[in-house]
């Protein structure tokens, strides 16, 4: 028997896919900005100009998306709620250890979730949420270099460049991109095997419904 359960509300799905597009765009353009892999053949081209333009627009879009998703974690349903992520009971850590053991083939009990996130998923997504905020802050701090002394500089993190050097901020902005790419590889893979095992996981981020097997 299967039961259809409405899990992912529209704002959750929308911000999820916007974040996917943004991370892809930001990683490609960001990698180009860090180490330009296309070389223009004449001065009337605008390769770096376009790369930076796309990077900055995608950065604003990602910021909006992360903020909307954060807002939804206060007003959304139980699966989207902040309690789903900031939820540290002893049982949660037992589940977390069990989930990890499952993924390294040390036990056969599939991760438990009452519809939303398993213990492992919720802690990993909390980490990704924090990393996205770090990327947004460091990114705007670097962006504010072209607005020295202005309002953007003051608001968006010129102050960060006085705590750390611009180059240190740039290095961590760049390294965290790789950590997020690491996450995406694992995330896509686990979504795929979960779909294999339990069904409807990737599809649920489109329809919002998950198929739960009745016990």
């Amino acid at each position: 028997m299967q039961r259809r359960l409405y899990v992912w509300e529209f704002p959750v799905r929308l911000t999820h896919w916007i974040t996917v597009v943004c991370i892809a765009g930001l990683s490609i353009t960001g990698f180009y900005i860090g180490s330009p892999f296309i070389h223009a053949t004449s001065a009337d081209q605008y390769v770096m100009g376009w790369m930076r333009f796309i990077h900055f627009v995608a950065a604003y879009l990602l910021t909006a998306s992360v903020l909307v998703r954060t807002y939804w974690s206060f007003v959304g349903n139980e699966y989207a709620h902040i309690r789903e992520f900031f939820y540290f009971t002893p049982q949660r850590f037992v589940d977390l250890a069990g989930d990890l053991r499952y993924y390294i083939f040390m036990n056969k009990n599939q991760p438990r979730s009452a519809g939303g996130h398993s213990a492992l998923a919720s802690i990993v997504y909390l980490g990704v949420w924090i990393l996205l905020f770090v990327e947004i802050f460091t990114g705007f701090a670097l962006y504010s270099q072209s607005h020295y002394g202005g309002a953007l500089w003051t608001l968006m993190g010129g102050w960060l460049l006085f705590l750390f050097s611009a180059q240190t901020v740039r290095l961590y902005h760049h390294l965290i991109m790789w950590v997020i790419i690491f996450f995406i590889i694992e995330h896509v893979y686990i979504s795929w095997i979960t779909r294999e095992e339990r069904g409807g996981f990737v599809d649920s981020m489109i329809s919002g419904y998950r198929m739960l097997k009745e016990r």
């Binding site: 180490s35 081209q45 020295y148 095997i193």
Partner: protein, 364 residues
């Protein structure tokens, strides 16, 4: 001669009125002042009595003194600094020994609160400051006495402004900036390695014209000299936007004057007026000469802007040649390998579980 105006002194040296007004216009431009203020600058320079100036040198390479003296012909700017009564300058003054020290103590005594102290070089604090002593006094004590009684202190060069190269890790002498060594004094930082003498002249001209010091940013640098980013005023900026980069020293792009971004140019995070006023009487500046900016006017530039010829710093805790992207590719490779290995093992487990449960299907 006491009481003579600057212009009297200049005419005696053969500087024409026209040259003088040209200089005043250049100063107005450097200070980002409107042209309507040129007469005011000229008036101030013509009429005002020049303040006494002393030049102290501590831990540095004398590069700022070199910058001051390096002009190929005497310029009006040089003469302004020259004719300002430079009563003490360790490197270029005529007196020596007790005579020299007397001229310094005389200035402090006779012009208390009225002279300008220019400091070049950082001040060591470690082990009681023994690493830099002049006439038996430590640099710190001297700076405290001379800068503490000055009208204002101008810290020239990155060493005096922020500690500079002597303060680079591991900073064996405990070198600090003038502001850190003598807290509470009025300091204008004119960093750069070396500082640009045009900015020093402009700071003095600003003081003579308005009777106050120019507006400073959070790092104590005048906005007129450090308010704009090198990258935004760079002559090679269009090559950056286009995507034309030098990839190797001496390659096609380098010969054609393309952007030095990939060669580690720190212009995008450096704030100074180099592209506009250049060095050595407007002859050239690093990027024009084909070398990236080192961001030498940035605090701790020797530590934070290295490696100078790479875009990103090395990752702390790893071998010095390990770059962020090598680690990044490693992380992605570990993820991909983990996924691949897991997929194989997962398929095996699925097969096993099917065999165990037979035809009953998945009964989790």
């Amino acid at each position: 001669m006491e009481g003579d105006s600057l212009f009297d002194k200049l005419s005696r040296r053969g500087v024409s009125r026209r040259d003088f007004i040209k200089f005043c216009s250049a100063m107005a431009a450097t200070l980002a002042l409107p042209s309507s203020l040129i007469p005011r600058i000229a008036e101030a320079l013509e009429k005002k009595q020049k303040p006494v100036l002393v030049w102290l040198e501590y831990q540095d390479c004398a590069g700022d003194t070199e910058a001051l003296l390096r002009a190929s012909k005497p310029t009006v700017g040089e003469l302004v600094l020259d004719i300002l009564s430079v009563d003490y300058h360790e490197t270029i003054m005529a007196p020596a020994g007790t005579q020299a020290e007397k001229s310094l103590t005389d200035v402090v005594k006779n012009h208390k609160g009225k002279y300008i102290a220019v400091v070049e070089g950082s001040i060591p604090l470690k082990d009681g400051g023994v690493y830099c002593c002049i006439g038996g006094k430590t640099a710190k004590d001297l700076a405290k006495e001379v800068c503490g009684n000055a009208l204002a202190t101008i810290a020239v060069g990155t060493c005096a402004a922020y500690g500079g190269i002597p303060a680079a890790r591991p900073n064996p002498t405990g070198a600090v900036s003038v502001k850190e060594a003598v807290p509470g004094i009025t300091v204008v930082n004119l960093p750069g390695c070396p500082m640009n003498v045009e900015n020093l002249t402009a700071t003095v001209v600003y003081y003579l014209t308005f009777g106050s010091l120019p507006a400073l940013d959070r790092l104590g640098r005048p906005y007129f000299a450090h308010g704009k980013r090198i990258h935004d005023n760079c002559e090679r900026r269009s090559h950056f936007d286009a995507g034309q980069f030098v990839r190797k020293w001496g390659d096609e792009g380098h010969r054609r004057g393309w952007c030095l971004y990939e060669m580690g140019c720190k212009g995008p995070e450096a704030y100074m007026n180099c592209p506009v006023i250049k060095y050595n009487e407007g002859t050239s500046w690093p990027v024009q000469a084909g070398h990236g900016c080192l961001g030498c006017a940035t605090p701790n530039f020797w530590d934070v802007n290295t490696p100078f010829y790479r875009r990103l710093p090395h990752v702390p805790g790893f071998g010095v040649e390990t770059t962020a992207d090598k680690i990044g590719v490693g992380i992605a490779a570990v993820a991909a390998a983990g996924v691949a290995a897991h997929a194989v093992a997962h398929a095996v487990r699925k097969k096993e579980s099917k065999e165990e449960t037979g035809t009953q299907g998945d009964k989790k």
